[in-house]
Amino acid sequence: MRKKTFPRGTHPPEYKHYTEGQRLEKLEPPEKVFIPLNQHFGKPADPLVSKGEEVLLGQKIGDSDELFSATVHSSVSGKVLFVKEHPHPLGSPALTVIIANDGKDTPHPDMKGTKDPFSLKPEDIRSKVRDAGIVGMGGAAFPTAVKLSPPKGKAIDTVIINGCECEPLLTSDYRLMLEYTKDIINGAELVRKAAEAKRIIIGIEDNKRDVFELFKQKMNGFPGETALLKTKYPQGAEKNLIYALLKREVPRGGLPFDVGVVVQNVGTAKAVWDAVSSGTPLYERAVTLSGPGLKENKNLLIRIGTPFKHAVEYCGGLKEGANMLVMGGPMMGLAQWNLDTPVIKGTSGLIVWEEEAFPEEFPCISCGRCVSHCPMGLVPTRLMNYSRHGYYQEAEKWGVLDCVECGCCQYICPAKIPLVHWIRVGKNAITSMKRKKKS
């Protein structure tokens, strides 16, 4: 079978063997959970509970009137200790509901299943998805309900289930696909129904052939197929994935629905199935804990709001000298500065290692490698240079906003220039300039 792929990109060492064989284990929830009200793309939710209130497992504790937002649920039963700012994995502290776990996991009565999920109407699926607080679990944490309601005139024909997991080290999606195959396929079918699409494509990289064969078998009877993709980073980035699978190009600044596609992560698909079939909101997710800095490497199912410290201790703690703590994969993940920050809906992994001497930075030697590896067709060195010198308008003209921050350019750069960081500076400056202009 010919493997599909997209132009350019790179292939960093995978290191998936650390955790590939580790079954997903359920991690006991800690004594205190810290559930931020801002775990998604869009407006943070407003708290629905206050200090001292008793809450149940799966109870809605945050919601918002805005379209671009998502509900937040309690991942334990117990008592609200505080609603206050707490360190957040995305950087700045954010409003967080801190709950003391009573250890009972008393479920909330609203968590009721549906007998025949496949007979539900699209709107019903969408509203259940929204009520369950589901957001994209592939990284961007985009509210899934919004994604499933494309604007008028943008018909969706294909649902792509993203099983690439192209980031090195991470294996949580892989384990989900192995262990919850049926749930994912069912979830995909629900997504297809909700988006009123014709078919499903499940894209899997060829370093996960076992999963590919599994899906091929179990997809029988569903309108869709399983596609084998070349192992290449960032195969899972949606614009590249769509190109690889369908040869369609999402227009600049556009979204997948502009070309009739919805892309959902496998974890998202499973969450959709859970929400619709058993009424379980998104309060738990699969997380890979890996890297040479951890005593043991594991794949865990972790309650949202669990501080990293708790999970790390379950893995035997940090090794001496571990100084690099990254939430997500090594290519796109965010460096963490302490272990008090909680697991959120978008946390796919926690990677720990010891960073040795920082590489010496050279000036750009115009080798062009960043250009020939950028999956988006950008000229990263120029974007970097423009940002560095504050020429933001030029950077915008050269497409800085099209950068998906995949990191290929910086990975490959022999001069060791922090290209992505500079590009982010440029993007940030441009968007804040635009915001200023609007107001």
């Binding site: 502290p93 500079w422 500076v425 400056a429």
Partner: protein, 270 residues
């Protein structure tokens, strides 16, 4: 005859040329911004194009319209830039001379570092990945403001905080725009008491992050309730004019020095 021809030729050329010009002048008179004239006046009139514009006049127009940098004239140098800045500035706030003021005292001794920062060493870059200090409101100390100042009026002090030289500052506002944490603003030179913190953290968090943070204890508010209020865990001077000079010593009792008189170093007098 030998003399006449050249005389006539040149006279004729002059005549033609002047008729053309006067015609042009009358047909194409354009109303002008008085600022253009004023700026034109201080420019060196070399018409060298060094500014990238087609001559001094064009440059003056561009500056008046805000399209060109006031420092764009390489021939005139700093002298001329200052003059232009004044011309442009008089429009905005005439009488009171303002200067840039930094509202943070989270220097290297006071503010706690978050970790080992190995990112790009500019404030903007550090800011977008959450900063290098525990306080997410305070100065990052990488001097974006210093680099932004066209008049060399702002420098990084010894303790990692920027210091404005009030004499050199023309209140152009570049540093204000440059600071990602919005902790610089323009204030009248005469105003010498202000809040040197922008942290909205609760008292405990603020205290943990920085020794000089405002802990919203309210001492200053009690000292001068007419002018100072607490908003979102932060003391704010609502109306500077209402501060009675006699109350300043009481205000200066602030346990963390987050409010008080501007020091000599901060005013670059030392």
């Amino acid at each position: 005859m030998q003399f006449l021809i050249p005389i006539l030729t040149l006279g004729l050329l002059g005549l033609l040329f002047s008729i053309g010009l006067s015609f042009a002048y009358q047909k194409l008179k354009v109303e002008e911004d008085p600022k253009v004239e004023a700026i034109s006046e201080v420019l060196p009139q070399a018409n060298c194009g060094g500014c990238g514009y087609s001559g001094c006049r064009a440059f003056a127009e561009a500056v008046a319209k805000g399209k060109a940098e006031i420092t764009g004239c390489p021939v005139g140098g700093e002298d001329v830039s200052q003059k232009i800045a004044r011309i442009m500035g008089t429009e905005a706030g005439k009488a009171i001379k303002k200067v840039a003021r930094v509202h943070c005292r989270g220097n290297t001794k006071a503010a706690r570092e978050k970790g080992i920062y190995l990112g790009i060493t500019t404030c903007h870059a550090a800011h977008i990945i959450g900063g290098n200090k525990e306080c997410v409101y305070g100065c990052l100390g990488f001097g974006d403001c210093v680099r932004a100042c066209p008049f060399d009026a702002i420098h990084m002090g010894e303790e990692g905080l920027p210091v404005v030289d009030a004499d050199k500052c023309t209140a152009c506002g570049k540093c204000v725009d440059a600071c990602p944490r919005d902790i610089i603003d323009l204030q009248p030179v005469s105003q010498n008491i202000m809040v040197f913190c922008r942290s909205l953290d609760s008292a405990a968090a603020a205290k943990k992050a920085c020794k000089n943070a405002c802990i919203s204890c309210g001492i200053c508010v009690r000292a001068c309730p007419e002018a100072i209020v607490l908003e979102n865990n932060l003391a704010v001077i609502k109306d500077y004019k209402k501060i009675d000079p006699e109350k300043i010593p009481a205000i200066e009792k602030c346990p963390t020095d987050a409010i008080g008189r501007i020091t000599k170093e901060e005013n670059h007098e030392g």
